[in-house]
């Protein structure tokens, strides 16, 4: 019995699967351990994948979800661009969204793996560099009205030609980027990862021969397809709509609606996206990137365990809406913020449509990214520094139908794959003092199961002014609950930036570029995750536990959970009054 119709030895099949997973893992490890930029090595903002010659994605790593969906169309675009011109020893570089890149700061390498003179596989990595040139350090320019004002667009180019590095091209690229040493180091890390992957795949081909390996891979793709189809088949046929509101993060174009219409027919699923026209602000998403957002919404619902490959999406068709819209942007729309905004809202819309189809299966939304990039001069080494601070975007996870959301594993678009980095390592790498990196009271969405807590990251520059550029949203609309969850105490659950100058606090809820001087502090706060189920059904003991641990305040307990205290200081609850109050809401 096989899904692909080929004669497969089930044992060899399992072995091939194991080797593919080990290969991807070793590629990821290489990136983590050797990279220069904290975005790679501390934050794990990178992804690796394997493709066959077609090229179909044969193994998707468990890295950043928002990278991985887009690697599928990106690899195909690169393959098409160089059709018939790929030789052994070539190495392709690309970042441009017109060729299905995500945002240009995410730089991809594609390494063709040849076996006995024939192209058999591609090993691919994508990583978020700390800079890609352009007017604003770190690539996020809230003032950009065109992609040209965001940084260097790189269509597919060969940076190695038949094994020979094209140093002139590389030099041109690095010359246009800040913190050149870091960028060169990160290129080396990406190349190292591609080579480690190729070495393993050749070992696999040596062992079983090309045909057996390819048959096994075809079978793995067919199995994943079958897996997703069986899951879709359990969803009742019909058309379901999810609409999520993207808040105005300071651009002045107002709130926007993103709609996902999910149509289930037997074991097929069609997802149609509708979004407003693109705007001259950095939150437009080109089609390749939007695939990631749609697939993440699907996976939040499908909850399938690994392995992941392109077969999963064979029964899924996506219509990203009209060209020139927010989720299907066309050149020269600015887009640097697109991997988080509007992607997390798009993911929510898709998730919400599935919630309508199968209300018991979904998880609540996770906190959206609302973070910052920093840049300035490091007097300790007399050199410039620039980086995205992933520790500044760590939000809470959504609750599920079984448990409270995890604290501090968001944002939604990364789904726990990031790491924020050790604070001593961040202070060692950049001239900053991190005064606070903590959970936040009342930030988790209310629900029978509470959303996870968001985080506060507070920084002061060491001795020179620091430029801080903020991005994202989720500063007015909290993470969406599921299963009837609703929060009353909203202001504690949304993101915001708090700047303290001479003892005076300013709260900022828009994307801005600010100068922070030594002695001043900027605290970036990230939202908690959405809750699941009616908060008035939450167990009183669990609420008291949360109060004891400083995760819920008196106000939060009263407003969000309908708890009435007879003596708050000793955590004494007025049981009758509480019951009466709660009864009104159940």
């Amino acid at each position: 019995m096989s899904y692909s119709g080929k004669d497969i030895d089930p044992i060899t099949l399992s072995v091939v699967r194991g080797v593919l997973e080990t290969t991807q893992r070793e590629m990821t490890l290489t990136l983590e351990k050797t990279a220069r930029s904290s975005v790679f090595n501390l934050a794990h903002d990178y992804s690796t994948a394997l493709f066959n010659h077609e090229p179909e994605m044969i193994l998707q790593g468990q890295d950043i979800p928002i990278h991985l969906g887009s690697l599928i169309p990106a690899m195909k675009a690169v393959d098409k661009f160089f059709e018939g011109q790929i030789s052994e020893g070539d190495l392709v570089l690309h970042n441009d969204p017109d060729y299905a890149g995500s945002h240009i700061i995410d730089t991809c390498m594609y390494y063709p793996v040849f076996y006995k003179g024939e192209l058999v596989f591609w090993t691919v990595c994508k990583g978020h560099l700390t800079d890609i040139g352009g007017p604003v350090p770190a690539g996020y320019n809230p003032a950009a009205t065109e992609i040209y004002a965001e940084g260097l667009r790189i269509p597919p180019i060969k940076i190695w030609d038949k094994g020979v590095p094209r140093d002139d091209i590389l030099n041109m690229l690095f010359t246009n980027m800040r913190a050149r040493r870091d960028q060169e180091g990160d290129f080396n890390a990406l190349i190292g990862a591609c080579k480690v992957g190729a070495r393993n795949l050749i070992g696999l081909l040596d062992k079983y021969g090309k045909e057996v390996v390819q048959d096994c891979i075809d079978e793995l793709l067919a199995m994943a397809e079958n897996h997703m189809r069986s899951m879709i088949k359990q969803v009742p046929d019909g058309t379901y709509n999810g609409m999520a509101i993207l808040e105005d993060a300071g651009h002045g174009f107002g709130d926007m609606e993103i709609t996902a219409e999910v149509t289930i027919k037997d074991d097929n699923c069609h997802i149609k996206i509708d979004s407003p026209p693109q705007i001259p602000y950095f939150i437009n998403s080109y089609e390749g990137n939007s695939y990631s957002g749609v697939y993440l919404g699907l996976m939040m619902f499908a909850q399938l365990p690994p392995p992941y490959n392109e077969g999963l999406y064979r029964c899924i068709s996506v219509d990203m809406g009209e060209k020139g819209t927010l989720c299907n942007a066309k050149s020269p729309a600015p887009h640097a913020n697109c991997t988080t905004t509007p992607m997390e809202t798009l993911t929510d819309a898709v998730r919400l449509a599935f919630e309508k189809a199968a209300p018991d299966k979904v998880s609540a939304s996770w906190g959206h990214a609302n973070g910052c990039n920093i840049a300035g001069w490091d007097t300790r080494h007399d050199e410039e520094y620039v980086t995205m601070v992933l520790a500044s975007i760590i939000s809470g996870a959504g609750a599920t139908a079984e448990q409270d959301g995890w604290h501090a594993v968001g944002p939604e678009c990364c789904f726990g794959a990031l790491t924020s980095g050790d604070i001593e390592m961040l202070e060692y790498s950049y001239p900053i003092i991190i005064h606070r990196y903590s959970l936040m009271e009342d930030s988790g969405g209310a629900g029978k199961f509470r959303g996870g807590s968001g985080t506060c990251w507070e920084v002061e520059p060491l001795d020179k002014p620091m430029t801080m550029i903020t991005f994202g949203e989720g500063r007015r609309i909290p993470a969406m609950g599921a299963g009837g969850a609703k929060s009353e105490f909203v202001e504690a659950k949304v993101g915001r930036l708090r700047i303290t100058r001479d003892g005076e606090e300013t709260i900022i809820k828009e994307n801005v570029i600010e100068q922070i001087l030594p002695g001043q502090k900027a605290a970036n706060m990230n939202p908690g995750g959405g809750g699941f189920g009616n908060p008035f059904e939450r167990d009183i003991d669990r609420i008291l536990q949360d109060i004891k641990n400083g995760l819920v305040s008196k106000k939060g307990a009263e407003l969000d959970y309908g708890v009435v205290f007879s003596d708050f200081d000793n955590l004494q609850v007025d049981a009758d009054a509480t019951q009466a109050l709660r009864a009104k809401h159940v």
């Binding site: 019995m1 899904y3 089930p10 044992i11 099949l13 399992s14 072995v15 194991g18 080990t22 070793e26 290489t30 351990k33 050797t34 990279a35 220069r36 090595n41 794990h44 468990q62 979800p65 040493r181 870091d182 180091g185 080396n188 890390a189 190349i191 190292g192 199995m223 079958n226 897996h227 996976m299 909850q303 365990p305 690994p306 300790r380 996870a397 599920t400 448990q403 995890w406 501090a408 789904f415 726990g416 794959a417 990031l418 790491t419 924020s420 050790d422 604070i423 001593e424 390592m425 202070e427 060692y428 003092i433 005064h435 606070r436 903590s438 959970l439 985080t455 507070e458 641990n549 995760l551």
Partner: protein
């Protein structure tokens, strides 16, 4: 410091193993059931067993022995079951949550899993108290410490009856004075609690790792203290005049008082002595590159020694808690005799990690287990004798094994019984091979340059197949394989790690002197400690490691060097060692880039005399050990081959067997596939070599 006997005791989850080495080179293994609630009980029982079988009384034995104990399960179980001490944390204000934020990461493999719970906090949030104080990355004090904050935390801890306290501040490694002063206040206000100070326990850069390591230590220390106290008192009552030595996860022994203070070092010490034992056993062949595999009922442990030195891990997640101190790298997989075969949601055959354990156990045990396991597959394939394990004390039911495999694996996958069983065998082997890659390839070693060492009772059935898969062509299996870890302890040295932060670029001024100064300081402390343990200079050996990286990188490569004088010239060899290591690991180096050091460490070793090596009397040919034949499967087509069976206890030194063959011993079975041959050596070790 040699004594007449040497006794190693390894308290495992199910069995406590005793290994007794006698002056004539004879080594014996004894096993009794573990008594986790009263560890001295099992020791008492074991000593009685030794008296009955070896004729040495407990008093005679104890007064004339070097004693080595492994308390691995005490700490480990407390961590697994979350039954450690009630622990409070005093930290820099604003950083109370770093151990709950856990770098903002959710473990891979559970990305979309709605059920996977967060890690249990070893110190709940209400017992984590921040104080005003701050040191910055340059080592300067930005905010002086507010002592009243420390006192307020102590008041709370007193009220809450906290048993163990951690003091861990940001950048305390560059300026330990704040932690030291806070520690004084804690001692003064809470004289009875156990106290762990971050920069003292683990003086290395990385706040999260340091605080987490300190918390694990604090959580376990009171428990270890009690355990060590009970053991020491028991042996003193039997007339021991020397202190008992305890085994640590860094691969060396330590005094009980040290283990109680540094409980985190005792955490996974069980399998950590394997590389030591393996290196000793392989010495007659001059093998120094050894991968040791130990397959038991539920798990499979892999360790590696390269050029005689064991792989070390630092800064890893262990049971979901970040631990920084160096631990022998032990890769543990859920792959053992009890691992269950199943077909996943995609329709792929999988083995484990679920295990049938010993109750109900594999289907063939006939204790009610109905799921097919590795042991069932091995029985169907003819690797195990239907007469059973442990010298016939545990009978195996061939029909039950066949039925389980047929209904759960063979029929759903449309395979014959033999092909299904061989498939299960292959998948479990494949899982093990991937684990072996993690300790070898991922650490920059080619496994084909290694000899494979078997340990544990279940390994022998898989070992030639595993070697085939990895490309290894020599295997060693000692007659002591089933008690290899206990054996490792009695041949181990005393070992302490001393660490310091060393954030220097190698191209900066005066760096050679600074490094040499740091090492001198560490090694001075180490020599002092070993002198207290009774070691003299000639028995003390020192190795050094430096965590190095290219400037701008954040993760380090650990480079190990001998204790040579660091000068401007010898610095070059440090650089070269780093480039080479980076290239081994990641397939490139950057010879033009500046290099920096982050942390340094000296390992101080007190050498202990080795016991005599085991001796095997000469044999008279393998034919006399042949007991019959069985039909055994060696290939994926499921074909059965008539295969001779040998009784290992009847073989002598020099006896030789050609595969295919199955060799049975009381506690282990070795399956020799047709590509292999075997010889028993005069040190009681089976050497298996691939033909041609």
């Amino acid at each position: 410091m040699a004594q007449k006997y040497r006794l190693g005791i390894d308290a495992g989850g199910t069995f406590t193993d005793f290994i007794l080495s006698k002056p004539d080179g004879d080594v014996q293994i004894f096993k009794v059931l573990s008594t986790p609630h009263e560890p001295t009980e099992a020791i008492k029982n074991g000593l009685a067993e030794i008296e009955a079988r070896a004729g040495v009384t407990a008093t005679e034995l104890v007064s004339q022995s070097d004693l080595c104990i492994n308390g691995t399960t005490v700490g480990l179980n407390a961590l697994i079951t979350h039954n450690g001490a009630k622990t409070g944390l005093i930290c820099t204000r604003g950083h109370e949550d770093s151990i709950e934020i856990r770098l903002g990461h959710k473990e891979d493999g559970y990305r979309y899993d709605p059920h996977y719970p967060p890690a249990v906090m070893l110190s709940p949030r209400y017992l984590r108290k921040g104080v005003d104080e701050r040191v910055i990355s340059t080592g300067e004090v930005r905010i002086p410490m507010n002592e009243d904050d420390v006192r307020a935390a102590c008041e709370l801890f007193k009220k809450e009856a906290v048993e163990s306290v951690v003091v861990s501040f940001v950048w305390s490694v560059l300026h330990p004075e704040h932690e030291q002063r806070a520690a004084e206040i804690v001692r003064e206000m809470l004289p009875d609690v156990h106290l762990t100070v971050g920069s003292k326990l683990y003086p290395q850069v990385r706040e999260y790792t340091r605080t987490s390591t300190a918390l694990v230590n604090a959580y376990l220390a009171p428990i270890l203290q009690k355990y060590v106290g009970a053991i020491d008192a028991y042996f003193q009552s039997l007339g021991a005049d020397k202190p008992v030595r305890f085994f640590q996860s860094n691969g060396g022994l330590a005094l009980g008082s040290t283990v109680a203070e540094q409980a985190v070092y005792a955490i996974n010490s069980g399998p950590a002595s394997a590389p030591q034992a393996a290196t000793f056993i392989a010495e007659p062949w001059k093998d120094e590159n050894i991968i040791t595999i130990d397959m038991g009922g539920t798990s499979f442990d892999i360790t590696l020694a390269h050029e005689g030195k064991a792989n070390l891990n630092k800064n890893i997640d262990f049971l979901r808690y970040r631990i920084g101190i160096p631990m022998i790298q032990v890769e543990t997989l859920g792959a053992g005799g009890g691992s269950i075969g199943w077909i996943d949601q995609m329709g792929l055959l999988q083995m484990g990690p679920q295990s049938a354990g010993s109750e109900p156990g594999p289907a063939c045990y006939g204790k009610g287990g109905e799921l097919p396991t590795t042991t069932d597959a091995n029985l169907v394939l003819g690797y195990l004798s239907p007469k059973g394990l442990v010298g016939g004390r545990l009978e195996l039911d061939q029909d039950k094994a066949s039925n389980a495999i047929k209904s759960k694996i063979a029929d759903p996958l449309d395979l014959t019984l033999e092909r299904a069983a061989y498939g299960m065998f292959t998948i479990v082997n494949n899982n093990m091979v991937n684990g072996i890659r993690r300790v070898s390839v991922e650490r920059g070693y080619d496994p084909r340059d290694f000899v494979l060492m078997g340990a544990g009772g279940a390994t022998g059935a898989h070992i030639t197949a595993l070697a085939n898969e990895i490309g290894i062509n020599r295997i060693l299996i000692s007659k002591l394989a089933s008690g290899l870890c206990a054996y490792g302890q009695i041949i181990s040295d005393v070992k302490y790690n001393f660490m310091a932060p060393a954030p220097y670029r190698l191209d900066s001024e005066n760096v050679a002197n600074k490094l040499q100064g740091l090492f001198d300081g560490l090694e001075h402390k180490g020599n002092d400690q070993l002198a207290k343990d009774g070691f003299t200079e000639k028995d003390i050996h020192i190795t050094r490691t430096l965590d190095m990286r290219y400037t701008g990188q954040v993760h380090e490569c650990t480079v190990e060097v001998d204790a040579f004088d660091i000068t401007a010239e010898s610095l070059k060899s440090l650089e070269e060692a780093f480039h080479a290591r980076h290239e081994e690991l990641y397939m490139y180096s950057e010879r033009h880039s500046a290099i920096e050091v982050v942390n340094v460490e000296s390992t101080i070793i007190g050498k202990i005399d080795r016991p005599e090596r085991m001796k095997q009397a000469k044999g008279s040919g393998a034919d006399s050990a042949k007991t019959g034949t069985r039909q055994v499967v060696f290939s994926s087509d499921g074909a059965r081959i008539e295969t001779p069976i040998y009784d290992g206890s009847k073989l002598g030194a020099g006896d030789h067997i050609e595969g295919p063959a199955v060799l049975e011993e009381e506690t282990t079975t070795i399956v020799l596939d047709p590509q292999w041959k075997l010889t028993l050596s005069d040190s009681a070790v089976y050497e298996l070599v691939k033909k041609n």
